[in-house]
């Protein structure tokens, strides 16, 4: 299982890449593996607001629909339009081509509530 060192995580299996005041959000390799083949993803509206640890997207696999929670609060700057035609990108490239959205971070203190890659790795290992 791939858990990049340069990202932050949540225990709901979302990752976030913080760069200055923007955050790129997605779901982890573990999440995509547990869901199986992803068939659809519902993304938030551009310019809409998302709140940390609140639902902002939904992913559907063949037999389940799961809520995805925002790792940070802020305004949606961009969504990954590619996913509407190619949701399988989430399975193939969870940390890159399968990202969900880019958020303008409204409160930098949100970052303190996220989990480091080392801690996330320990957490995932503890699940087995």
């Amino acid at each position: 299982m791939h858990i990049p060192d340069d990202l932050l995580y949540t225990k709901e299996h979302e990752w976030v890449r913080i760069k200055d005041k923007t955050a790129t959000l997605g779901i982890t390799d573990y999440a995509q593996g547990s869901l199986g083949d992803i068939t659809f993803v519902e993304l938030p509206k551009v310019n809409g607001a998302v709140a940390q640890f609140k639902q902002y997207a939904t992913v559907e696999s063949v037999k389940a629909a799961s809520d995805v929670y925002a790792s940070v609060s802020g305004k949606v700057l961009k969504i990954n339009e590619e996913l509407s035609a190619h949701p399988e990108l989430i399975n193939q490239s969870p940390y890159d081509k399968g990202y969900f959205a880019v958020i303008e971070v409204s409160d930098e203190s949100d970052v303190s509530r996220l989990v480091s890659s080392a801690d996330y790795k320990k957490y995932v290992e503890g699940l087995h």
Binding site: T39, F40, E42, K45, E60, K63, A64, A65, D67
Partner: protein
């Protein structure tokens, strides 16, 4: 014989476990007035006695009246083949088609029903059916609320009051603002709709033909609705689709309606049939079941319930709808009916109904004191103004053997003298002429 397996001790133990004193305490939330006085039901009767009793009850229904009564439910001819095919035990006794491997026949019939509904309405996707025209309209409104994230819905007063009432009842615990716009000279008021239409509007709901029978081309309204990012919803009378412009052709996003006219008998309380269809991009917000076509491992065509992630058994409280069943047998009757009538047949029948309705207008307007409302074109139903109270007149017409129409005063204040008259392909020239004679006689009394 006692059919209840629990002993008094069992019951006492269960009551103790949940912390109530008696079984009656379980019903404490129901007002005493609404609780049965006694469960002391009479002794059983023989089959013969039951038949005699039920027949006696049924004979109280006036089933032999010549019907010009519509108001959303219409007296159409049902070909014998509809009953014969729909009552085959393979369909009649079948359980819900959860297992595609053992339900291909059922699934195919629903798939074909969906295809017929899409063709009829000029839209891309249909579900496997809903309960009736009212619940279908409610589901369409909720699709718009979810899709837009907005809370205001504009409803034209030409939409059947039964549907409007159902819409308001179903949504009474949600914070949705409904704005009703008036019908002026039989048609929906563009002025009023545009006045209320704004960036907070989730949807505009219209009906064609409207409750007064007026037909309209709502293309202009649909394009204004889309300008503010709202959805256009239309409730239609399916038989009229044989000649009228479809909701799809008018650019509407969702169409719904009552499917009773498609091979279902008139019966108080149903079961009836709600249909709903929408543009393809809205499919994930569709309520209820959807059957899809696919291929099996050998490449052969097969049918399955599809997009189930919208539904309760997967998405739980976040499902698009509480509907997790459908009116399969009624939908089957509808697809059999539409298949028998055919594309050309539906058009011919619609033309016939239109002509008979125009003939009925010409007969009724010859009666002194009767005015036919001609401010709008109509399809199968029209409004007449009587010199007397329409409710009283309708009652007297029953004695003459007619269900003469729907007294509009029951739904619309100030319209106490108005009668809504419906004509189907079943009404003969003689019956229409006799309606005129009888109405004239009743009015002269």
């Amino acid at each position: 014989m006692n059919y209840v397996p629990h002993t008094e001790e069992d019951r006492a133990e269960m009551l103790k476990a949940i912390g109530v004193k008696s079984i009656d305490d379980l019903f404490i939330d129901i007002s005493p007035a609404l609780r049965p006085k006694s469960f002391d039901i009479p002794e059983g009767k023989s089959e013969f006695e039951v038949c005699r009793y039920i027949k006696k009850l049924a004979s109280k229904n006036a089933t032999d009246l010549i019907s010009f009564l519509g108001a959303g439910f219409y007296d159409h001819y049902i070909p014998a083949a509809v009953d014969a095919l729909a009552s085959r035990s393979e369909f009649y006794t079948a359980y819900t088609p959860y297992q595609p491997e053992s339900s291909q026949g059922w699934l195919q019939s629903i798939y074909e029903y969906q295809t017929a509904i899409c063709e009829l309405l000029g839209l891309d996707v249909s579900n496997a059916s809903l309960y009736d025209g009212g619940t279908a309209l409610y589901e369409a409104a909720m699709m718009a609320i979810r899709l837009t994230g907005r809370k205001k819905i504009i409803v034209d007063q030409g939409v059947n009051l039964i549907y409007r009432t159902m819409l308001y009842t179903y949504t009474s615990n949600l914070s949705i603002e409904f704005v009703e716009t008036p019908v002026v000279h039989g048609q929906s008021s563009r002025e009023a709709i545009l006045k209320h239409l704004d960036g907070n509007t989730a949807a505009v709901i219209l009906q064609n033909p409207n409750f007064f029978g007026a037909i309209d081309d709502y293309t202009d309204i649909a394009s204004k609705v889309h300008e503010v990012g709202a959805l256009a919803i239309q409730s239609v009378y399916p038989i009229s689709m044989g000649i009228l412009k479809t909701p799809g052709e008018m650019g509407f996003d969702i169409a719904t309606g009552e499917g009773q006219s498609l091979g279902l008998p008139l019966s108080f309380g149903g079961p009836y049939l709600g249909f709903i269809a929408a543009k393809k991009e809205l499919v994930r917000q569709m309520p209820g079941r959807i059957v899809g076509a696919t291929v099996d491992k050998d490449g052969k065509r097969g049918y399955v319930l599809t997009l189930q992630t919208r539904e309760q058994h997967i998405r739980r409280e976040k499902a698009t709808s509480n509907i997790c069943s459908n009116e399969a047998l009624c939908a089957l009757r509808a697809v059999i009916y539409l298949s028998l009538i055919g594309k050309t047949g539906l058009k011919e029948m619609a033309e016939l109904i239109y002509s008979k309705t125009e003939f009925a207008k010409s007969v009724l307007e010859k009666i002194p004191g009767v005015t036919v409302k001609r401010s709008s074109p109509t399809f199968n139903e029209f409004t007449i103004c009587l010199p007397k109270n329409a409710d009283d007149v309708a009652h007297k017409m029953v004695e003459k053997g007619f269900a003469a129409g729907f007294p509009l005063g029951r739904f619309y204040k100030g319209m106490e003298n108005y009668l809504l008259v419906a004509v189907t392909e079943k009404r003969t020239r003689e019956e229409i002429l006799k309606l005129g004679d009888s109405l004239e006689a009743v009015l002269c009394d």
